[in-house]
Structures are given as structure tokens and as C-alpha cells.
């Protein structure tokens, strides 16, 4: 049968715009959203109102100034706000490169909402938790297969939390060997995630950052100069956010090992590598997967996620407690790890996320995981080929080389030709029901944007995205003001960032908003604005890079 699906640019798209009130503006004294069940009369008879037992100073005198709103109006409020959110199910969400926004199977949300999981208390007797523990243990086994590592902990609640665990293990490892104070440097690369550097600093390490060469990669030669008796370890992503795989990664690991350090692999960009190459093959001592990226669990507007952390057998004793074990009596929680770094999150991690990842792996099987990787790479290189041909766009570094599963592109030429920035393009792209993100640190690629298509989107959706970028780029050349004043069809127009950076005007809560509206004339007050000049408003959310 001939295909009927075609790509189109949604020139008639307009996002929902409800002009919805702030929750506090819906306050109407006396309305109720929900009634709390009273205690049974027998209890009230036995203990009274309960307050008498409290010391006077501990009884709240002034009730919290929460709004009072009837139930239906509350539902309407949040339904309207949900409509003002694109999310991955509406968007072709490939423009949040590095974030691996892929399809999150609905069935997995239903499974995680099952009361047999959702209504489990973590301190229940393990005999009442055998199903949940089986899921956690089996997921550990699958992740070992995928990575080649010997043991996983599902305790870290995000990628950055997994990095915290890796850095803590590096610290504990050297302390265990009597080198706690002397090994105080951690090496990373400039295109690895900012948290690799940031977390190392939190744990008191000096951070050494290797810069990229013309191919966008750090070099073994620079690494050799950086290592020494102070080297505690290395944290790197590969491929980095440029999508370029570092073919000498095993040498990197070897150089750090030779210097006495241990190596952690930030696998935030693993989506193109499942079944293709494993962390262990390059010699890594530790690695982690973002289950909310690679393994298909939803990002939840910013969590909860899960940073499943894998280590070699030599480091398993350092993992946070407890680990889920299995013997002839069933599954149990092992807290007896004398060298453990302790706890980094309450209980056992984001179990509902782990369950979704488990279901995702089971739905795909070993062959399916490999297919995920291969199609993600296919999609990415297809986009690369098309985007390079868009007027004003380019893919810096390593010309002619294939990329793994994302690319950091640049609108530098377009900016030079037209004065239109990547930020302008991003805001115009919103007019088509899509998202394009101007990338986080490092700010090395000028006028950047990062695209990561994953395996989830059909060719026609990729073509639609390309069509929008192509059209917007042409607009930049022919009608730059159209792009520079975008968005035109979004929920809101260009945001004034001044209020957000000025301590006198930032309004992080309703109470500050009320207070500062009066004092500083906060511009979000309904009515004429104090300073609506385009210059003031065109300021980018992402700033000029700091000097390094």
C-alpha cells in the first residue's frame, strides 16, 4: 500500500492560550476543594481535639494563606495549564538535544500506577515486596548485560545524582587505599555534562577540564599532561553532546588507570550504543544510564528520573546501601557493605521509574534494544545530512564524520548574514508547535542548537522538523523582523528576563509577587508595562560563556 503520510509545516498552528489566572487569584473565602475525613466519634471522645497535648508555642496561630477554591474550578485551572504545555506527546521533541526525549509508552505509566507498586511502603517486610524487589534485581541483571558491568544500584535519582555517587565512590576508593588527601583532582572534558565538573567540585575535588581539538574531541596527549599523582579519577561522556564518538576512549581510560585513578562513564548519550559497545569494553570502572532518557521513562517535567549506576566487581562494595539480593529464600535487601558510601537518596531510589524501564526493556528484548540504537543513529545522520543543507546552519567539528545520536549544530553563518540569533530561531520554532533549544554549557559552539532525534519519530516527523527549520532560516534572510519578534502563536510573547535577574524584582512566589509589585513595579502586573523595549526583552536565557 502506498504511504499516505506526508510531512507538513504547521503554518496554522496556534498554541492554547487561556489567559488563566494565578491560583491565588481564584481565592474565594468559604469555597472548599476537598473535605478531609474527620476522625471517628470514638476517637474524638477519647482524645478531644488533639491540640491540648501540644505546647502552646507549637500550635499554629495564623492559618497558612492558601487559597480557597471549589473543586471544579481547581480541575479547570490545572487542565487549562496542562493545555498550555506541549510535552513530548504533542511536540516532535527532538530539539531538546542531550535530553533524549523519546516516546514514553503509556502502558508503563499504567503499570507504575498499579496499587501493587504505588501503594508499597519502603519499610514493609521484604516478604511483602517480592514482586517489586524482583523487578529491581532483574533490571540490575539486564543493565549488566547492556554495560558489561558487574553490579548496579538504582538508588541515584537522576544522572547528576549518579555522578554524585561516582564521585563519592572515587573519594571512598582512595580513602580506603590511604590516599584520601593526596588524590584530589578529577579530570573531565569540556563537552561532558556540566554536572560532571560541578559534582566533583561539590565533593572538594579540583576540576581539570580538557578542551576539544578541531574534531571536537579531547586528546590523549592533553590527558597525559593532566594526569599525575594527584589524579583521583576521570568522568567523561562519549559521545559527547557533539555526537562525535571518541575512538581513543580506551586509551583515555588506560592513561588514567596508569596514573592510579579510576574512571566513570557518563552514559547520558547511550541511546545510540545499546548492544553496540559497552562501558566495560573501554575499561571503565563505573558507568550510569539515565533511565528517563535512554530507557523510555517520562521526564516528568523535570523528574523524577533515575541514574542507574553500574560498577565493576572491585567497586561493588562501595555502592550505596541497600542492594537487592536474591537467594533460595527469595529477594532481600542487603545493607551489609562495610565500605559503602552510605546513602545518597532515601530508601531504594525512584522505584516507579525503574519499573517503567524494566517494562521498556522487556517490550524490546535484546534485538529491540539494538534496533533502538541503530534507528536512533540512522535518524540522527539523516537529520545531519538535511540540516547541513539549510541556509545558515552548520555542524561544527569533524566535517564528513558520522555522528552517533545527536549533533550540536550552529546558526553562526545565519547570524553573521542576518543578525538573527539561535535564540530568535528557537522562539520562532515555537510558532510551529515545536521546541528548539539553544543548548547548555559549554558555550563554545556559536549560536548553538542541539538536535537528538532518538528512535521514536517517524521519517515524516523528522521531515516536518527539517521543514520548519528550513522555513524559519529563510524567514531570517527575507523577513528577519518576523523571527526577531517571535513567538507570535505561542502562549506568551518574548519574556522580560530583567525581572528574573534583579533581586529587587524577582518574584519566586505569590507573596513576593504581591510585595514587589508595589515596591518595584514588577512588570507581570496586569496593565501597561514599565519597559517594553525589544532590546530589553530580546535578552537570551543563556548567557555569554565565561572565560576559561
Amino acid at each position: 500500500m502506498d504511504t499516505r503520510r506526508t510531512a507538513k509545516v504547521r503554518n496554522h498552528f496556534h498554541q492554547a492560550k487561556w489567559d488563566e489566572e494565578l491560583l491565588f487569584e481564584l481565592h474565594k473565602p468559604g469555597e472548599r476543594g476537598l473535605v478531609v475525613a474527620p476522625v471517628e466519634p470514638g476517637i474524638a471522645a477519647a482524645v478531644g481535639d488533639g491540640l491540648a497535648a501540644l505546647p502552646a508555642g507549637m500550635v499554629r496561630q495564623r492559618p497558612p494563606a492558601l487559597p480557597e477554591i471549589g473543586q471544579m474550578r481547581i480541575v479547570k485551572h490545572f487542565m487549562r495549564l496542562s493545555q498550555e504545555n506541549l510535552g513530548g506527546d504533542l511536540n516532535i521533541d527532538i530539539g531538546q538535544g542531550t535530553c533524549t526525549v523519546k516516546y514514553n509508552p503509556k502502558v508503563n505509566d499504567v503499570l507504575a500506577g498499579n496499587a501493587k507498586l504505588a501503594q508499597l511502603h519502603p519499610l514493609q517486610d521484604p516478604r511483602t515486596l517480592q514482586g517489586a524487589l524482583q523487578v529491581l534485581h532483574t533490571l540490575d541483571l539486564y543493565l549488566r548485560e547492556i554495560s558489561g558491568m558487574d553490579r548496579f544500584s538504582l538508588q541515584p535519582a537522576s544522572g547528576s545524582a549518579a555522578i554524585l555517587n561516582m564521585v563519592s565512590i572515587i573519594q571512598a576508593y582512595h580513602k580506603d587505599r590511604g590516599e584520601a588527601g593526596t588524590r584530589d583532582e578529577i579530570i573531565t572534558t569540556i563537552f561532558s555534562h556540566p554536572s560532571d565538573a560541578a559534582v566533583a567540585a561539590v565533593k572538594g575535588f579540583k576540576v581539570i577540564t580538557l578542551m576539544q581539538n578541531d574534531d571536537g574531541l579531547a586528546t590523549v596527549e592533553d590527558l597525559r599532561k593532566a594526569v599525575g599523582p594527584r589524579t583521583a579519577g576521570m568522568l567523561v561522556t562519549n559521545p559527547e553532546d557533539t555526537g562525535i564518538f571518541n575512538p581513543r576512549i580506551a586509551e583515555f581510560v588506560q592513561v588514567v588507570h596508569d596514573a592510579g585513578g579510576i574512571c566513570g562513564y557518563d552514559q547520558a548519550n547511550a541511546n545510540g550504543l545499546l548492544g553496540i559497545t559497552r562501558a566495560r569494553s573501554a575499561g571503565f570502572d563505573m558507568c550510569f544510564f539515565n533511565l528517563h532518557k535512554t530507557f523510555g521513562t517520562p521526564h516528568g517535567s523535570g523528574g523524577p528520573g533515575s541514574g542507574a549506576l553500574g560498577v565493576t566487581g572491585a567497586l561493588a562494595g562501595f555502592l550505596p546501601v541497600p542492594l537487592v539480593e536474591h537467594d533460595e529464600r527469595g529477594y532481600f535487601l542487603d545493607t551489609d557493605l562495610p565500605k559503602s558510601i552510605g546513602k545518597t537518596r532515601a530508601f531504594y531510589g525512584c522505584v516507579q521509574v525503574a519499573l517503567k524501564a524494566y517494562a521498556w526493556i522487556r517490550a524490546l528484548g535484546a534485538e529491540g534494544l539494538r534496533e533502538v540504537a541503530e534507528v536512533a543513529v540512522l535518524n540522527n545522520n539523516y537529520l545531519l545530512e538535511k540540516i547541513k543543507r539549510i541556509r545558515g546552519a552548520s555542524a561544527p567539528f569533524a566535517p564528513g564524520r558520522r555522528r552517533i545520536e545527536q549533533v550540536r549544530y550552529s546558526w553562526e553563518q545565519l547570524f553573521k548574514d542576518t543578525g538573527v540569533t539561535s535564540e530568535d530561531i528557537a522562539l520562532r520554532v515555537a510558532d510551529f508547535g515545536l521546541h528548539m533549544w539553544a543548548s547548555h554549557h559549554p558555550f563554545i559552539v556559536p549560536q548553538p542548537f542541539t538536535i537528538e532525534p532518538t528512535e521514536s519519530y517517524s521519517k515524516e516527523e523528522l521531515d516536518e522538523y527539517i521543514g520548519v527549520l528550513t522555513q524559519v532560516a529563510e524567514e531570517a534572510y527575507t523577513h528577519p523582523e518576523l523571527v526577531q519578534t517571535a513567538p507570535h502563536r505561542s502562549v506568551c510573547h518574548r519574556i522580560k528576563h530583567e525581572d528574573l535577574d534583579d533581586p529587587a524584582r524577582w518574584a519566586i512566589t505569590w507573596r513576593l509577587f504581591q510585595r514587589k509589585q508595589k515596591v518595584a513595579g514588577l512588570s507581570a502586573a496586569r496593565g501597561p508595562l514599565a519597559d517594553p523595549s525589544p532590546q530589553g526583552c530580546a535578552r537570551q536565557g543563556h548567557r555569554v560563556p565565561e572565560g576559561r
Binding site: 497558612p64 492558601l66 490545572f78 535519582a157 521526564h299 523524577p304 530508601f347 517517524s458 510573547h493
Partner: protein, 467 residues
């Protein structure tokens, strides 16, 4: 395998062979293998992962996973007295209805141009929490209350430029582990003695420990062991006199009736939002809040995202964005404040809906309900021979220590016997707090009825009588 047979997979549209061929042609590559040319052969995995065959039918996948979960016994199927940081509170239907909206669940880091709703809801969450806590500022949530307390202490360290934090010895041992790990090697963590009868902080010891190096004094209300730390104002006075900040861990479900920590001098308040409309999910339902006053120096120490309301170029139009983004590691790597990334935002959405539903009256009714029910449980327990409840002298909120030492039975034995009656007894404290001997931490929520408490007492009486 189904995929190799060309049936495709529901999650991978471009697995269709004709589509692959078309895309490869567009790229100018002969095969997908060619796209992996940068990965040396020595790193290529040529084995077969030991992962079972795909269950690509949704029905069969459900049957498989639900079959595994069937081995669990949930709190819905039992009477649970477990607390200790995770609570079986009632989750209103609308929290699930909104909290599971696909538009929110599948969103991530879009800006207000794409994800306006997410910004507004989370800003409203920050605002509702600020009212509940009587603070100016609340963050976009971090992982859990552990991380919130860890970060609060590190914030205090940077704010004061000092190197020591002090915490009570009887906080959750797991939390203490997390704090120790997170502070090492930057801040020294000192533990404070507690009054053995009440559990409250030993102020003489506090006075001895406080000094020019002290960045923060941390305590909780209610405390991990359930008691109220009624000396909050005195502790704050002592800490402030020494130039230290006061960090208080709070249970938001208590704040309809309990004085918020700002009322006795807290500079930073932190804790968990799981109790506010989030399912326990075996501890997965946590989310950490940090709140403070609106002082620039303190706000600039937050590592978290902070959403703010602002205007746009259109007169009178509102929008939202990130406040002082330059603070963060996303902007400044290791020169930012700690680190930020994926936290627990969807739990904030549920908590926002929860607080909107509850309003001031709901939070007060909830607080009173929990107070009354816990007092009733303690009353009934203490009438049993050999049982002392509360085991620590003084007022409590929804949890308290139950002292079984005089019963001659170990908590483990009691809990085993209770489990046979589908009752989850309180957390056994004997290993973590040896000085308490055979004691357990009991918790009630509005989901435990009087009938269940009465049945529990009867069952427990039988266990104690039959020893």
C-alpha cells in the same frame, strides 16, 4: 525475532526496512554499520545480551508485569503503621488525574514558549509551599528530603563561610549517612547529644559545640522519632548568637496545626513533599523542598531551579522563567552552586494540586485528624501490659516511639506475628537505636480507621498475652 521478520515495533517507526533504505540513501551510506565507523572494532560488542525475547504485545507485557507485581502486598491490602519518612496519606483523585497528564509527564526543559503550564504550576507550587511554611522562597524540588537537608547545610556553609554543621544524634541514620557523604570533605558534621527521656536536643551540649566554625544547626519538627522539638526558639537563639544559621526539617502535613519553623527562627526549612498528594511507590514518591527568606545572599546560594513570574513585550501579559540562572551549574559548571539537573518536578505538580484542594481548612483538618488519631493509638497502646507509648516523653504529631521492652518480646517477633494478620507493625528501631532497646516507630495516617486500630490492639494484646 519479530523485528527481524519485518513486523516492526510499535516504539520504532523507522524500523520499517523500506524506510531505512530510503533514509540511508538520503545519507549516502550503504548500511547502518557504516554510521558506526568511529567505534573501533576492539570496542564493538559482538555477543548476545542475555535479555529475554521482546514482549511486543501490550496485553502480554501487562500480563507479565502485573504477574510479578501480584507477589507484593500493598498498604491497601493491609493495616500499615509504617512511617519513618514515607507516608501512606490519602492521595486525592485529582492529584493523580492532573499529575499523570501526558502534557506534564512527557515535558522536560522547554521554556514558557512551549511549556508555559509547567512553569505556572511549579511557580504556584513554590508559592503554596511558601504560604504553608511561612517563608518567602521555595525551590523547584530536588530528589528528596535527604538531598534538601544536605543542600541546606551546604548552603549554610557557603553563606557563613564556616566549616562545621551540627545535627542531632537521633535523626534518621540514613539521613545522617547522606549528610555525612554530601558534606565530606568540605564540612565537618558534629552530632549532638539528646535527652534520653524526651529525645529533645541537649542544649548544654549544643552550647559546648557551637563556636566560630559553626555554619548551621539542624533539627526537625516533628523529629524522626516522632517527638516535637519544643525548644526551637531557644536553639535558634543560641545558634544565631554564635553566628550560625538554623536549618529545620519539617513535615508539611503537620503545618495546618503546628507552628511553622519560621515562627521559632528558622533560616532554612527543608523536607519532603511525598505526603502532599504523592504515592509512596516504595519510597519513589519523594521530593525535596528548601525554603528561606528572600535575601539576595541566601537566594544566590540555592543550586536549584527557582521559577519566577515576569512580563513579556506585550502589555499586561504574564510569563515565567528561571530566576538568577547564572547561579547554576548548568550556566557555570563547577563555578555554579553545587549542581542541578532532573529533580522531582512531577511530584511538585501533584503537591500543588493537593495544596490547592486542601486550602487552609483542609490542612488544619488533616493536622487535627492526625494528632487525634496518633494520640488515640498511643492511648490504646499504653493500656496494654508492658507497652509504653509514647516511648519518649512529650508531645508528638503523627508518629511516636512505642517501647516494648517490658513485654519480653522483640519487635521483630511482634511484627512477624502482626504480619500474619496483615498488619504492618511500626519500624523496628532496635538496630538503629540500641539505647531504645526493643522499640518501634509507629505512624498513623487518615487511611488507618479506628476499626483497624482497635483490631490491631486486639491482635497485639493476643500476641503479648500468648508469649
Amino acid at each position: 525475532m519479530p523485528i527481524q521478520e519485518g513486523r516492526g515495533h510499535p516504539y520504532i517507526p523507522n524500523a520499517v526496512p523500506a524506510v531505512k533504505a530510503e533514509m540511508l540513501a538520503a545519507i549516502g551510506a550503504r548500511s547502518i554499520a557504516e554510521l558506526y565507523g568511529d567505534i573501533p572494532e576492539s570496542l564493538r560488542y559482538r555477543g548476545t545480551m542475555k535479555i529475554p525475547e521482546a514482549i511486543d504485545s501490550e496485553l502480554l507485557l501487562r500480563r507479565h508485569v502485573e504477574g510479578i507485581l501480584a507477589a507484593n502486598t500493598s498498604c491497601d491490602e493491609a493495616t500499615s503503621f509504617l512511617g519513618g519518612g514515607c507516608y501512606n496519606h490519602y492521595v486525592p483523585v485529582i492529584c493523580d488525574e492532573i499529575g499523570r497528564r501526558s502534557e506534564f509527564i512527557t515535558a522536560y526543559t522547554g521554556r514558557a514558549y512551549e511549556d508555559f503550564g509547567r512553569y505556572q504550576v511549579i511557580w504556584e507550587y513554590q508559592s503554596l509551599m511558601a504560604e504553608l511554611l511561612d517563608m518567602d522562597i521555595c525551590n523547584v524540588p530536588t530528589y528528596d528530603g535527604f538531598q534538601a537537608s544536605c543542600t541546606s547545610l551546604r548552603m549554610a556553609g557557603r553563606y557563613t563561610g564556616r566549616k562545621q554543621v551540627v545535627v542531632p544524634c537521633n535523626i534518621s541514620p540514613d539521613r545522617l549517612k547522606a549528610i555525612r557523604n554530601y558534606c565530606e570533605p568540605v564540612l565537618a558534621v558534629e552530632t549532638l547529644k539528646a535527652d534520653p527521656r524526651s529525645g529533645r536536643m541537649d542544649l548544654t551540649h549544643l552550647q559546648a559545640v557551637l563556636g566560630p566554625a559553626t555554619a548551621a544547626v539542624y533539627f526537625e519538627n516533628p523529629a524522626y522519632l516522632g517527638f516535637l522539638e519544643s525548644q526551637g526558639a531557644r536553639i535558634a537563639e543560641m545558634a544565631h548568637d554564635a553566628g550560625a544559621l538554623v536549618v529545620v526539617g519539617a513535615d508539611p502535613s503537620s503545618l495546618g496545626v503546628l507552628t511553622p519553623p519560621s515562627g521559632y527562627g528558622a533560616d532554612l526549612v527543608c523536607g519532603d513533599i511525598q505526603a502532599l498528594g504523592n504515592h509512596m511507590s516504595l519510597g519513589g514518591g519523594m521530593g525535596g523542598f528548601i525554603a528561606s527568606r528572600d535575601e539576595e545572599k541566601l537566594v544566590m546560594e540555592y543550586p536549584s531551579r527557582l521559577y519566577g513570574i515576569t512580563g513579556t513585550v506585550e502589555a499586561g501579559e504574564r510569563a515565567f522563567g528561571e530566576v538568577a540562572f547564572e547561579r547554576t551549574s548548568l550556566a557555570r559548571r563547577e563555578h555554579g552552586k553545587e549542581f542541578v539537573g532532573t529533580g522531582a518536578a512531577s511530584h511538585a505538580i501533584a503537591a500543588c494540586v493537593y495544596l490547592a484542594l486542601m486550602g487552609p481548612g483542609g490542612m488544619r483538618d488533616l493536622g487535627l485528624h492526625l494528632l487525634q488519631k496518633a494520640q488515640y493509638l498511643a492511648q490504646r497502646l499504653s493500656a496494654l501490659p508492658g507497652v509504653r507509648a509514647p516511648g519518649l516523653k512529650g508531645p508528638f504529631f503523627k508518629e511516636f516511639v512505642v517501647d516494648f521492652n517490658a513485654t519480653g518480646l522483640a519487635v521483630a517477633e511482634i511484627n512477624q506475628a502482626l504480619l500474619r494478620e496483615r498488619i504492618f507493625g511500626g519500624k523496628d528501631l532496635s538496630a538503629d537505636f540500641p539505647r531504645l532497646g526493643q522499640s518501634a516507630l509507629y505512624c498513623v495516617t487518615e487511611l488507618v480507621s479506628q476499626e483497624e486500630i482497635d483490631r490491631f490492639i486486639k491482635v497485639l494484646a493476643g500476641i503479648l498475652g500468648g508469649k
